[in-house]
Each structure stands twice: as structure tokens, then as C-alpha cells.
């Protein structure tokens, strides 16, 4: 595992994983902006991640793209790379790197729970595991997302003259909320903030069931009574949300576990729906991977490092630049 440094850089072959600055060769785990950036020479990723990058940054956001199927091996010199589903969002992948019989897995962002909007997480056994730890505290134990989405549906039923604005990240979470609503037989048109439109269209094209949606327009205020609107979290706090009738501000995020956080952000209806593993899933993945060496990135590393050490695993935090922002999910 000495071949990769704390910036997820493999010097021998000049390859980066999820670099935040333009590089020669970049393996991208998924399309979120803190992982997928503009301007690399060569991007290696799943087809969907490449599509998403092109939607967000334009067709020329990298000079060359190499799409990989899940499970397809790609070699550079004596390094073999394989992508496996990470269950985080559409196209998200873990990266298995094999060199001289050493197996190293970079999970990227991942969740173990079921999700109809992407391929489910696949556990990959390895010697070294570099895991994320966004929710690396034992207070985070995600509830069943179906129960959470039912709270939204019930609230819509009861509060007929309000509209519900759900804050959800534009890529992944928004479409997952839409899909969960459909799973629970909510069949009305879902209204979306303009910044979500292209990505929703893409998910539809990829045959993800997000149902009928429509961009919010300057209709009569009363039109939106009883409707569900999905918007990026930044729009909730903004003047944008003031155009709607008696909005009930909701937010779909793992952070909503903590009432005080919800309150601080002015969220009236918190929905604990996360695209990351919770504490128990993180522990379970570490255990089942059989890895003896655990590196922890992204989030609340301290508690997880402490836990691994208690299990006699070699563990330390990796601090990757630009990845500590709580707002990013």
C-alpha cells in the first residue's frame, strides 16, 4: 500500500483518484463536485459518471474519457484497476487496485442500503481499505428511508394548503427522493428547481423511475399548494423559496439525524435519508472486507480510527484536501 499517498496519488504511474486539481490521469469514483472536477487530461470512470461530468461541465471537460464497466479490469503497467458498485449514486464506484498480490480498495462514497437509483454496493475483500467516514459516529444510525418518505407524504396529506419544499443535493439525492416517493405510490407531478432539470432528465433516460416532473415556473402562488418541490439546499435559505405558498421546509439528508442541526438550518420537516453508510454499516464493511489496514477519509474520522485500533486493526486518518465540508454529500 506504499504505492499510494495520502492524496490518493499513485506516483509510479502518475494516476490520481478523485483529484481536485486538473491532472494527467484521474480515476473518478462518482459525479459529485468534490470528487469529479473539470480539466483532467484523461478521465477513467463508469459510463454514467462520465455522462454526468459531461452534463455538468460540458463535453470537453476532459481531453480523453475511458468508460469502464463494473468488474472490468483496466491495467496501467503493473497496476490493475477494477471498478465495483458503491451504491452511492448513479454510476458511483469503488476502486480496487491490485499490485503484486496486494489488494487495495478505495470505497469512495458508499452506502450499503438498497437504492433503486443505482447499482447496489458490492463488498470487495482486500488487504487495505480506504473508507469514507461521513457518518463515522455511533449517533448516526439511519432509519428505513421508506418510513422517512412516508413522513413527507403524510405531511402533504395533512397540510393541504402548504407546499413542501424538499432540500436535496441536485445529483443523486434529489432523484432518490423522487424514486422513494414513487415507491410509496406518490404519483403526482413533482416540481423541481431549474438546476435539477438536466440531471433528472438523465436519470429518466437511464430508466430510473423518478416519475413525472416539471420545472418550477412563475405560476400563480396558489398553484403550488399541496405540491412537492425539490430544490438544492442552497435554494431553501434563499429568496427563491419565498415565492411559494406557506412553504414547509424539508430536507433529505443524513445530517437531519440531529435535531439541533435541523433547527439551526430552519428545517421544519427533517427527513433522514442518506446516501452514505451509517455507523453500523461502516463497521460491518470494515469487518467483512477482511482488511488489516484501514485508512479513513472524509468526515468524522476520529471515532472510527479509535474503533479500528480497538479491534487491533492498523488505522489512521487520511486528510484529503477539500473534503471536509459538511455541506457536501
Amino acid at each position: 500500500m506504499d504505492f499510494i499517498n495520502h492524496q490518493l496519488f499513485i506516483k509510479d504511474i502518475n494516476v490520481h483518484i478523485d483529484p481536485i486539481f486538473p491532472k494527467k490521469t484521474a480515476i473518478i469514483t462518482h459525479g459529485h463536485a468534490d470528487h469529479a472536477r473539470f480539466g483532467h487530461d484523461h478521465v477513467i470512470a463508469t459510463r454514467q459518471t462520465i455522462d454526468i461530468m459531461k452534463i455538468r461541465y460540458g463535453d470537453k471537460c476532459a481531453k480523453k474519457f475511458t468508460p469502464l464497466r463494473y468488474g472490468q479490469k483496466y491495467s496501467i503497467k503493473n497496476f490493475d484497476f477494477t471498478l465495483y458498485p458503491a451504491g452511492h449514486i448513479l454510476g458511483s464506484a469503488q476502486v480496487l487496485i491490485e499490485k503484486n498480490n496486494h489488494r487495495l480498495v478505495i470505497t469512495g462514497d458508499y452506502k450499503v442500503g438498497k437504492d433503486e437509483t443505482c447499482k447496489n454496493f458490492k463488498l470487495v475483500k482486500c488487504d487495505t481499505l480506504i473508507t469514507e467516514a461521513t457518518f463515522g459516529l455511533p449517533i448516526f444510525q439511519h432509519p428505513d428511508p421508506k418510513d422517512e418518505i412516508q413522513k413527507l407524504i403524510q405531511s402533504v396529506k395533512i397540510n393541504k394548503h402548504n407546499c413542501h419544499i424538499v432540500g436535496a443535493y441536485a445529483l443523486g439525492k434529489a432523484q432518490r427522493v423522487m424514486n422513494l416517493l414513487r415507491q410509496q405510490k406518490y404519483n403526482e407531478t413533482i416540481y423541481i428547481h431549474g438546476s435539477l432539470e438536466k440531471l433528472c432528465q438523465y436519470y429518466s433516460k437511464e430508466k430510473i423511475n423518478i416519475g413525472k416532473f416539471e420545472k418550477v415556473s412563475s405560476k400563480d402562488k396558489s398553484f403550488y399548494e399541496g405540491k412537492i418541490i425539490i430544490a438544492p439546499p442552497s435554494a431553501l435559505k434563499d429568496r427563491w423559496s419565498r415565492r411559494f405558498p406557506n412553504p414547509i421546509i424539508c430536507m433529505a439528508s443524513g445530517w437531519m439525524t440531529v435535531k439541533q442541526r435541523a433547527k439551526q438550518q430552519g428545517i421544519e420537516l427533517p427527513l433522514v435519508i442518506s446516501d452514505h453508510s451509517d455507523w453500523n454499516e461502516l463497521l460491518d464493511t470494515i469487518k467483512k472486507s477482511k482488511a488489516k489496514n484501514i485508512l479513513i477519509t472524509h468526515g468524522q474520522e476520529d471515532a472510527l480510527v479509535y474503533y479500528c485500533k480497538k479491534q487491533n486493526l492498523v488505522s489512521k486518518p487520511l486528510s484529503i484536501q477539500g473534503r471536509s465540508d459538511e455541506e457536501i454529500e
Binding site: P138, I139, V258, Q260, E268, A303, Y306
Partner: protein, 521 residues
Amino acid sequence: MKKFSSLLHNLILTPSRNTKIKLLQDYFKKLDINRSYALAILSNQLSFQFIKASKLRELVYEQVDQHLFDYSYDYVGDLAETISLIWPTKKDGKSQNLSTLIENIKKIKKSKINTEFSKILSELSNNERWTLIKICTGGLRIGVSERLVKTALADLYDKSVNEIEEIWHGLEFPYENLFQWLKNETSKPKIDFKKLFHPMMLANPIDEEKDFIRLDANEFQAEYKWDGIRVQLMVSSKSVSLYSRTGDNISSAFPEIIETTKGDAVIDGELLVGRNFKPSGFNDLQQRLNRKKASKDLQKKFPVFIRAYDILFYKGKDLRKLSLVERRKYLEKFQKENKTNQIDLSFIINFSSWDELTKYKNNFHDDLNEGVMIKLKNSEYLPGRKKGYWYKWKKNPKLVDAILMYAQRGHGKRSSYYSDYTFGVWKESELVPIGKAYSGYTDKELLVLDKFIRNNTINKFGPVREVRKEIILEIAFDDVFLSKRHKSGVALRFPRIHRIRWDKPLKEILSIYDFKKEFNL
């Protein structure tokens, strides 16, 4: 328990007052023993002797690794919430109702508290656990005042909130008499009023433009408004007690009042520090506040007295339905009969026109009063802030021009706007903040400021934005003190935005030295 805990959950997340009232009313539609407990909890009258924060920590360490708990607590920042989230839930726990749960907890013997209380916590859901721990540690902090609960009850059962206020301090758990009366099954509960703290009558600010046209000066009298703390003094042949505006018994902090007062009455007045009935300022008074006891030394250095405004009872007779003028006669009689060095009477200003009163308000140069109180001569003594009876008219505020430095988003109705402002004055070549204000501007000014801040942010510190130093605000404030806590060395009392000074160049802003000089600091 489920219903009550989801009520608290919804209350804490709801910013709107009306929605809170609606939530409370939905819950109190039924009046049973569970609601009795709920009312006791919401008005902070329930506590468990053995279970405090330290005990809860002890219990949680038995359940989870101490380090993991500490990491989590550090992140969450709220004990009840951390414990409720981290506590291992037993899935098949049976749901109990609020009253059974509390009664069961009360029955636990001290020696068995650890095992039995832990068992209860395990059987509750996350949110119920949070609620129970909040109840144990006291102080719910869910943004619901006692007054709001009373308002919700009054509206729901077609009573006036004042009627509830009036008897509130004489009610006891489980509030059967209150509930029966609310349901119209009996008449209003009979309370021994002489022994009770009586909610005070409060004033509304006067609207100079509207009210002086509308109101007839001849129907009003005035008194100076003193900057002390409002108190209620209850004296009988058996005992003397002193209450704060919120009904807390503060007798032990002011022994000189308790020891010297005689007679049989309930007096409304202002507690002030000073000798020979000459008040010496709020800063001095602060030396006597928030203390349980006062040493002889402290009593000597900062002696207190009461300036009496009003009288509610005299020799067992309820005077509250009499007019202010009638009550004043009783007050004077009481004072004559029981003369001490600790009680004097508030001076009555008689005037025949509002212009005349203006002179009183402005001519009184003494810094120790804050303005005048204007009271309807024939006003009864009504609890709360009823409109149309008593008004306060504050002196013109002090003013200073300062430069807008930082801004933060506001709360409630201003939640999406940058509405909290920090402003400063020069100290050599840098700016030092002298205060923070989040009121006083018009809606239009707020929009202008909000837009300026969004377009002129030069730095972000978490939620705080630093802006280009271009906007000058005229700040109004009631008073200014020296303060070691602030970089500028001064602290303003009640600062608010008076207006935006588009006309003034930055260079003309005072330095902190000139500012102190101007206000004699």
C-alpha cells in the same frame, strides 16, 4: 409518550408562533392525566430528584464506550440528543403513556435507579428518549414559553388568557380544577389571592405619531420610568416576600427590604440601588442581581430601595378592579402608616397636554430614568400587556454613526435575509466593533442592506460574512458602559439601526476615543 414526544419534536422545529399554538391545541384537545403531566413539564414544574445530567452520563457510559460517546457529544453539542441517539434501542419496547411512565419513574428506589432507569431508556424510541431526558435535565428549550401554552389553552377553550394568568400561580398539579373550568364543568377555580404572586400589569410602547392624536391627555397621568427591576412586594403580619416580574421569589437576595417592611399589602414597584431614595444607576444595581444572598458589606455598598408604583391588595382587600387613581390613595395610605427607609412613592406628573408631557420627558436631564410611563387614570390593574391602558415613552435614544462590518442571516420572519449586523468605529487605522443589532430598520432598508451584503462579501467565517466597509449606519442605543469583554472596551445597551447614512463619508466616523469622550466614559 409517543404523542407528547412528537409534540415536542414538532414544536422545536416550528418557527411560526401560530403553528406552535395549533400544535399545542391539537394536543390539549383532550384533557386527561397525560395532559396534566404535559402542562407541568411545559411550565417547568416537574423534575426527578435522582436523575440529573451527571447521573445520565454515568448511565450512558455503562451502555457505550466512553470515548465514542465523548466524540459524539462533542459533535452534537446537546446532552439529551446525544444520549437519545447513541443509546441502544430494544426494538420490541412497549409504548407507555406519559403519565404511567412518569409515575413508574417516580416509584423507582434510589438504590435501583441505574438498572431500572436504563431499562426504561432502552424500551423507548429515539424521540421518546430525547423527550424523557429533556424532562429530567429540565429547561426544555423548545421555543415555547409558559405564556404561549396558556394562550393556546385559552383560545382553545374560549377563555381569556388573563383569567388563566390570574389564577396560574395558585394552581397545582394535576390541575383538575383548571381543566374542569376549561371544559365549563365548574366555575373558575377559587384561589387565595393574598398569598399568590400576581402577574404584573405591563405597558406598550407609545406610537408618537398615532397615539397622541388618538388619546386624550386629560384621561392620563404619568410617572418617570426607572431603570431598575420591577418587583412585587407581598407583606402581611406573618411574612414578607419579594417577587421578580416572572414570579420568582427573590426575597433572600434583598434582606434589608424583607426585614424592614411592615403592614398588610401587595405592592408593585421598582427595585433600585441608591441612598436616600436617589437611584445610582443600573450598573450598581447589577452588583445586587443574580445573587442568592447579600452580605452585610454588599448591603452597605449598594443599598436597595423600592419605588412603589401601585398597590394590588390592602389589608386583605382586592383593589385591582379599582381605578389607578383610587388605588393610588390606598398606596399613599399604606406608605404613611408604614414609613421605612426602603419604600418611597413614584412621583405623579400631572399634565394637560401631550406637549407639556414632552417637556417633562426631555427636560429631565438625570440619566437615571428612561423616560415616562403614561397611565390611564381609570385603568384597572390588568395582568399582562393589554393595549390601551399603560404606555411607555422612552427618552430619545443616544445616537452614533458606525460602519457596517459583518452580517449574519436572521431568524424567524427575517430568516432568509442578512439582518443581524455588527458595526464598528475607528481605532487608529483599523475598525473595532462596538455592537450588534438586528432591529430598527424598515423593510425597505432591510432589502437594500441584504442586497449590499450579498454583493459585497469579502470574507466568510462560517455563517458570518465580512463586507466591504462602505455602509454607514446610524445606531440608536439606550446607554453605553465600559466593558472589558469587548475589544473596543465599550458595550451598548439595546442598540438598534436608526437609519442608513448615505450622506456621510467614512472618514467622518468617530474614533473609539472620541466616542468615549462624547459619552463621558
